[in-house]
Symmetry: D2
Subunit: 297 residues, 4 copies
């Protein structure tokens, strides 16, 4: 397939590379060009403008354009700068990013109005999993559009989870899933502060939990970071965590869903950011819980 790819951050690079390795023709663009160097060495073509990943005529028209950007704002700015206008049939826009439910609706409608197709495919996984093609992809969009990009999706993930045809459905699931992740971290953070205050180290406590009732990737991975107090370099930064929890709160507000856990996690994330935690992994919520309990003074 001819694939355009936009957004070569830590996640995007691994994903784009897997598309390349799977034999797809890749045209890439990133805000800062050097991020594409390695991909170019691997055979990708670099373009100067984001819109150019779509191709210029029928013979170069991209089958799919993948975007992996940080948030609504970043995506909207690329769309407004020409990408949206350049999309047309039969290109499928595959949006891997975690964006708001509201913007997912708006964007899908705009893309479809252009004659192109839209597939939401937000991913669960951290950069090392992206590089290893071990992501879980939650996918929503019109059936034929999903079918047309299915091979490419299979190349970048461990598994594709179909989520229906309404384009924003995958985003709802992704946002809810990230909320559950944040909650898992916060619950380990509070529980560890509790055991520490009673003389039991976080590592000892979490070792038991993550080998028994909580022997799942979310707990094993973040539990290890908390046990080792190893919050840098961040796999997923506090600031991004806050963004995602705010996406949950915003969409919850629109649907009138009280979410006390989401509210409590948001406050803990703000507390972390107010104490210089912006560049730490969001598992550093454990520092917030411990600081509130006066444990490290």
């Amino acid at each position: 397939m001819k694939i355009g790819f936009i957004g070569l951050g830590a996640m995007g690079q691994g994903i784009a590379n897997n598309l390349l390795k799977a034999g797809h023709e890749l045209t890439v663009w990133n805000r800062s060009a050097p991020a594409a160097d390695e991909l170019v060495r691997g055979g990708a073509r670099r373009v100067a403008l984001a819109a150019e990943v779509c191709g210029s005529d029928a013979s170069t028209r991209a089958d799919a354009v993948f975007v992996m950007l940080a948030d609504d704002r970043a995506l909207q700015s690329v769309m407004d700068a020409g990408l949206l206008a350049a999309l047309q049939a039969p290109t499928v826009l595959v949006n891997l990013a975690t964006i708001s439910v509201a913007y997912a609706r708006t964007l899908a409608a705009a893309v479809i109005a252009q004659g192109a197709a839209y597939v939401a495919a937000p991913v669960f996984g951290r950069p090392d999993m992206a590089a290893a093609a071990q992501l879980n992809l939650v996918v929503s969009g019109a059936d034929d559009a999903v079918t047309r990009v299915r091979l490419a999706l299979d190349a970048i993930g461990k598994k594709v989870w179909p989520a229906g045809t309404a384009p924003e459905r995958a985003n709802v699931i992704k946002i809810a899933g990230n909320f559950m992740l944040a909650s898992a971290i916060e619950s380990m953070a509070e529980a560890s502060a509790f055991t520490r205050a009673h003389g039991i180290g976080a590592a000892d406590f979490l070792a038991i939990m993550t080998q028994t009732l909580f022997a799942a990737p979310a707990y094993v991975g973040y539990g290890k970071l908390i046990a080792e107090q190893r919050y840098q370099p961040a796999g997923f930064k506090m600031a991004l965590g806050l963004k995602d929890v705010e996406l949950a709160l915003q969409a919850a507000g629109q649907a009138r869903v009280p979410m006390p856990f989401a509210a409590a996690v948001r406050d803990a994330l703000l507390d972390a950011l107010a104490h210089g935690g912006a560049d730490k992994d969001w598992s550093a919520l454990a520092e917030v819980a411990s600081r509130r309990a006066g444990l490290d003074e």
Copy 2:
């Protein structure tokens, strides 16, 4: 070993039966006698008073007395009614119950003052896991005491997790672990209300989560109950859940540990109880989150 066993509720019956099957000589007592009928048919001896499970002289002295009671109050009432006075060397009191950190300290001291030994061995697992000897046991107490009951512990659990010598340590871990369970349920409850309000059923959403990031017993088990809205018969009742979360809040208060998640879960449990949920499984927290969002009206 000669083993006394007190407390034949849903958990206790399975555990006691496994001790019997492992070849131990079992003497049992329960507040309501019929609960012991099946064990007696299996070879256990029934006594009329709890204290009698300790034996009456050197030749009948129990090597260990296991207790599996509902809470501090139930345990204290049995202790005060003669059990404490009847304990003496070399009997090891093995306390399987989830009790408060404060009472664990007091009780262990009292037992040791009697010349007997004390081992805390609270269990993670539900009645079916108790029956199948698949419990996880967190064990704390003096090393030689733990050693003396080790064979019996192995007979009732899948794994023994050593937690140190101070007797209350296992209780701290058990209470923290149950808080994490409650938090896992509440996070699924809120996330499901969120997805439902956006048109995605709890079953569809939780299927993805519990096969990926949250593929752990805690989430798989309770996720299934939430997906199927199957809250009765209860594996673990709301009222017991509230008791355990209150144990966490109480011990957190004594150690000055703020726990916003524990506070939020307590409020949700109270909400459930205020709406007739006392006999439901605590995974019915999902009903609370949905009701607050006006989803089932």
Copy 3:
């Protein structure tokens, strides 16, 4: 003074009328024209476009333009529809509305860039107090701009509270004050649910509180509504309350300030809206607290 006035809702009508009664020349505009009928009968001039309240030349140029609109969106739409472009020296835009801190900054800069002046003057008070010129006005803006509109401000309020020269400062105070109001209501709501569950009616309890420690307008007024369960017609609707609490949470997030009370109030407001409370006074938070406690079933 020549004064333009935009926004004739329940608050705006009373305020505009007081400007008229104080002898100012009033030009009014409202999205739905009939709201201006009474003011026109009283001597105000009605214009067809919002921008026309500014006047068309030096001889008709408004000294001040007052705006009293519901939220950022309403205000921005009027600004974009020509009002901003029509503003020029020496007109002072007096913004009475409760808008976001972020938009207050942006808007003030845009108005000043037009050559006009900007004064923020959000008000504390309900429609009856607006009609009686009993509002409290928190005012920020350049000193000379405030001085030029001071007489008009005195005509509509009981007291002007100076809040400094940076234009958004009054909005910060207004938002913080509304958060305190919401918290006062929620605390009465929870306390009343508590006393009711223990057999003491809300009216009996609140009568004592609001005559002693809490003998202040916020508590007396809302306490009376709660005691009488009289939530309609609304003085201040749930939906507006939610808007204001979300303004607080948003500005708190930007400044990294955890606000657990604001989060809890938001959840209660969402709960109210999810149960048909959109048109009730926000003191109906008492219904939420009572419902959660199962009191009215």
Copy 4:
């Protein structure tokens, strides 16, 4: 009247002194005797055992025994040490202390079983108000018992608020009222952290609030302490504040009433205590809100 008085802390001394000044015959006891010195100089009689304040025979029998102790435990210990046994008709036990709803019920029954009468009269006010006889007293108990001590109550308070005949009713109201006080402080704490983070000092902000919507003793008094950051000497210590909020949470739990504000305040109080705040006034909750926002670093 012949009055016994037990508990000469900061509150008790002022109250006892007002009883003395009103011409009552006062017999006093305090755990540490020197606290009674000034009262003795003023004409009170000091006894060696708490029970002796009841008098020894019909001619010396106290008409009323007032107790003003810190909590359930302190009161229970004095009761068990002989006071309960010494109470008999026609003495009225007047309990000024803030105790739990559960213990209020138990204690009243025990006192009545002795043939004596029981009146609950918890007070709102701080030590300076106690000294000035400006307390608000919430009073519950059998009508004739209340009548018999009415003169004495009038001597120590500004106003008596009748709360019905069931003895625990006054305690329910007192606990709910203290929860509202704690909530008022927390709301000022969060609002001030919010305005400070946006460049507006707590003093400037609170001056406006406490002269307008919140011009009530609770806000004026605690607002001043927050504005001046003057938390010592404490009028009401953090630790006592925590006790009272926990009384609310406990009685709320028994009646199945979710109280998210009470839970949030408890966490903030724990945070304060974990950071050395035990001896500060509970208005130092403002320090917690500011610390969480990173404001004083």
